[in-house]
């Protein structure tokens, strides 16, 4: 399976005077479209994040905006390295690693819940001691989970419709991971669960079983919604305090209060008391035009829109680049998903196919979720826009996912050209380069 595994070396394999750049480009394989998409999104990210951190920089760094720009560029650099190195890895390694990573992620999630840092209310983060960077353990767990799902789905295809042999081994890790993510980050847990179910559906798990799972999952959600409806009182001056009191009590029970409040805001939100962030995001969207927005760096909403550089970056994109810009970003994500599906189609091996599909879907769904929050189709949740939101652990995990997808793509390419290998070795290389 290893590339260029010939006894004798070719001239092209010998490092030449053409320099490092040429050789890196030559060694870079995988789906060229996805590479292109990564680059487009990264460039967009630099532009928008640089603009959106303006007020953050003003608040925290005496207007030193460049700090965030350089930070973002550094993240890009590290991210690209991650993609590059992961795409060089033979993806079969991931099959073996999937179980290990999943096993690691569970204590990590528990640790986070117990001792994690609080950023924006939920304890979703832990600090990595040496590099002193907080990272959201759920991002790690998600990748591990999807890798594991791909593995199980590919291995159990024969018995996939069977409850014991097919369904249980797939659903148990999903339930564990989601249950551990949920207390701190309900929306993320829901998103992970939904994506998992989607993958199970694609992976031919019995629809009956899936519907059963959904039904069970709906119970807590229904509980929250009904709580929201029950505790909600129309705005009457003296009732207001009572409602707040109930909510405050609920806040005591983990993050239940926040969930209920957000649901209420979403269900009953009139113009006066819709959440601040939503209001600001809508203002941002309203400020952009159809074709062109306010132009790069001219956002006004970034000044008050909390997390403008992160959860609400899509609103800023529309403000600065117009609806057209927003549509273009959507198109890019759809193209990405399409390429992911193409890899699935072309990949002869079950695990690789599922892996590419799973990771492509999860990224695309995350993007859609973020955009849906930005236009207020769903309640406010803390989901980033993959590759565009300001750097952080989720950015790096996104890069890791893309690296894995490209690793599958590279192996697919290799497999396609493999039959030629023994006879005409030199052509292999030109083929790859010309593809």
């Amino acid at each position: 399976m290893m590339e260029n595994n010939t006894v004798d070396r070719l001239f092209t394999q010998i490092p030449s005077f053409e320099g490092v750049k040429g050789s890196v480009l030559e060694k870079t394989r995988g789906d060229k479209y996805i590479w292109g998409i990564v680059i487009i999104l990264a460039l967009t990210s630099v532009l928008v994040v640089y603009s959106a951190t303006g007020s953050l920089a003003y608040k925290k760094n005496h207007g030193n905006v460049e700090l965030y720009l350089f930070k973002q560029l550094a993240f890009m650099f590290v991210g690209m390295l991650i993609i590059y190195f992961l795409h060089k890895v033979n993806y079969t390694v991931f099959s073996r690693m999937a179980s290990i990573l999943l096993v690691i992620s569970i204590p990590l999630l528990i640790y986070t819940l117990a001792f994690g840092a609080k950023i924006n209310e939920g304890t979703r983060w832990i600090k990595v001691p040496i590099i002193n960077m907080t990272f959201q353990t759920s991002d790690f767990a998600k990748i591990a989970l999807f890798m594991y799902l791909s593995r199980v789905l590919s291995k159990k295809q024969e018995d996939i419709k069977d409850f014991k042999k097919g369904f249980l081994p797939t659903i148990i890790p999903v339930v564990i991971v989601c249950a551990l993510i949920m207390p701190a980050n309900l929306s993320n847990a829901l998103l992970t669960g939904a994506t998992s179910l989607l993958l199970m559906f694609i992976g031919r798990v019995s629809l009956k079983h899936i519907i059963l799972t959904i039904a069970l999952a709906m119970i807590p959600i229904a509980l929250i919604i009904s709580l929201a409806v029950i505790t909600y009182k129309p705005k009457v001056a003296d009732e207001e305090s009572k409602k707040e009191a109930i909510l405050e009590k609920l806040t005591g029970v983990g993050r239940l209060g926040t969930w209920v409040k957000r649901t209420q805001d979403f269900i009953y939100g009139s113009n006066q008391d819709i959440p601040y962030q939503v209001q600001q995001a809508k203002m941002a969207i309203a400020n952009g035009g159809i074709l062109f927005g306010k132009g790069p760096g001219n956002s006004i909403a970034r000044n008050y829109l909390p997390q403008a550089y992160n959860d609400f970056i899509f609103a800023i994109i529309i403000e600065e680049y117009g609806l057209f810009g927003g549509a273009f970003i959507m198109f890019i994500y759809m193209l990405f998903l399409f390429r992911g599906i193409r890899i699935f189609r072309k990949c002869p091996y079950a695990f690789g196919a599922f892996l590419a599909l799973a990771l492509s879907f999860t990224l695309a769904i995350q993007a859609i979720a973020n955009m849906a929050v930005n236009v207020n189709i769903v309640p406010v949740t803390g989901v980033t826009l993959p590759l565009i939101s300001m750097g952080g652990s989720s950015f790096l995990f996104t890069c890791a996912a893309i690296g894995i997808i490209l690793s599958v793509a590279r192996n697919v390419e290799q497999a396609e050209s493999k039959p030629l290998e023994p006879v005409m070795v030199p052509i292999v290389n030109t083929n790859i380069i010309n593809e």
């Binding site: 608040k59 203002m283 035009g289 159809i290 529309i318 927003g326 959507m330 189609r345």
Partner: protein, 711 residues
Amino acid sequence: MDIKKDILWRVYMIYIVIIGVCILIFSKAVYIQQVEGAKWRNLGDTLHQRTQEIEAERGTIYSEDGEMLSTSIPYFDVYIDFNADGLRDKKGKLFKDNIDSLSIGLANLFKDKSSDEYKRILKQGYKEENRYFSLKKSINYSQYLEMKKLPLVRLGKNKSGFITDSKSLRLNPYQMLAFRTIGLARDTNKVGLELAYDTLLKGKNGSRVVRYVGGGISMPIDEDEQEDAQNGKDIVSTINVFIQEVTEQSLLRMMRENEAEHGCAIVMETATGKIKAIANLGRGRDTSNAKNGGYWEDNNYALFATEPGSTFKLATMFALLEDKKVNLHSTIDLQGGKWELNDKLIVYDAEEHGKNQVSVKEAFELSSNVGMAKLAWFNYQNNPSQFTKRLHQLNMDMLTGIDLVGERNPVIHKPEEKGWNNRSMLPWMAFGYSLQVTPLRTLTLYNAIANKGKMMKPYLVSSVKEEGSLVKEFNPTVLNDKICSDETLSQLSECLKGVCSEPGATGYALFKGSPYKVAGKTGTSLVQDRTTSYVDKVYQSSFVGYFPADNPQYTICVVIKNKKGAKKYFGAAVAGPVFKEIADRLYTTYVKDVANNNYVVAKKDSSRYHSILHRDDIRQLAPFAGVGFNSTTTAEWFEVNKNNKSQEYAVTNNENNLMPLLKGMSAKDAVFLCDEKGIKVNIKGKGKVTAQSISPNSPVEKGKSVELFLN
């Protein structure tokens, strides 16, 4: 392949669903922007934009010699939000870890509480979850910077909860010096120059539109439409820090010695009417100023009208002479010092001197009340308004018009007024009773005599500046170009000189042996005011005069209200010495050298050639220059004479406030020596010091500047 196809249709189905969601999202965005757009856009502006005032910086009041008398300094109030996220995180780990080092840091920085006390109040505040705990008020900028470096605090507002509110406080670097005249820039009830020039000093606040970013931070938008604050203009007062210091100290010393109630001393530049110094000391309500013996500049006594007593006799003399009722040699019977106008109206002199026939000039010099009362009575009883018109001619019934708010109107009764009684008014007015004038008014009168009959308006501000460049200049104002005939003028100055030079005159003893001549008048009057009546025997001592008598440079008025039963109360004994002390200092500093006008030694005298070198320098140079150097002594300075022999050279007295002898030194050494004593140096020429504008061994204050002439 069957399986793969089975999977593929699912994939495509979901792909289509996702695209559907995308379309939904896009449609919602279009809806928000195109349908609801106007509403959101309008909301945006009203929600975040606000007009914010930009506070103008208040101008600085400078002294004549460029020292800051009153300026605005940023100060900070420190608060702690004990509910700051950083402090509450992890059950207050950050707070607990840092409280010890923070308490020590705060105690070291502010030195007002021990570290244990700080720790206690911090813990208390933390326990109470106080969100706006006032830690310390009014710390200055350098303390603020230091505080920012302390543990916890350096982590920033969100982590430490430390909040600082900046404000601008008015600072008087010279503290008590002319404090009342410079004034108070408090929000309400300003006084002094701060009030009189408030419109200039305060500037104009600007405004700008800001957008709130959250977290209480705002960002200015649209800098073009910003209306900048116009900072207040600076004003340069006529007050000279050196003269003010001399005046204030002299007054303070006498007042402490005599435990006086309140007093003032004003120094006016004769030719211009510039107030060079104005000291006002009283006990005030706040007697905690132990440092100054309980005295403080609590009121502008120079602007308060009181019965002046004998210093007013100058005005009486002026009327008599100008109306040619008498000349200096006319005689008058002092009747031994007691004159009974009738049973009830008896005029006494200060003491029963037993003198009878004396000249008018002598009567003035002796400060005889009987003399003045009789002269006025017999010359004006039939036409009292002739007398009061003469007083009006001297502006005695008017404000001086000094550029301060709060000058009290003088009280000079007139025959035309209801209730005028010749008998009970005229003789008393002649020696300064039954009327009230301010010390400043009296000063202005005496200055007019000093200034050859030209009455100058007293003023305190000479120019207005903006960022160092001149905006407006105030020139001396003449109130009356010639108050009297030359003849009267010379007679009056004759009288005033006599007071200070004729044996037996009230000021004779005081100025005996003075290197300069003084012309002036003593005054001792019984005080009757809101709290005191004549029978209490509280005296107001005053001395007004000018010097040098032949070429007047400065006119000084000293008025001190004594305590009840003070041992010393004569004008010559209380106010006179203050005058003399001020005059002495001014004379050595300004007048003497100006008068001699020759403190540049132009002659080069090789026979007296000498150099003054510092011990270290001479030790290094000696071997090369062939100078014999005797290093057994500990002297610091050595004189090298023509024969290349070095010898000890006493440069200066040990007392720090004496001017060193700098002659023969290099500029470097001279500057070094002056610098040590805090004296500023102005150098003219090159080479070695040949002359200095402050004579050696004369007292000199820190911050004073000396001119050195080099050959």
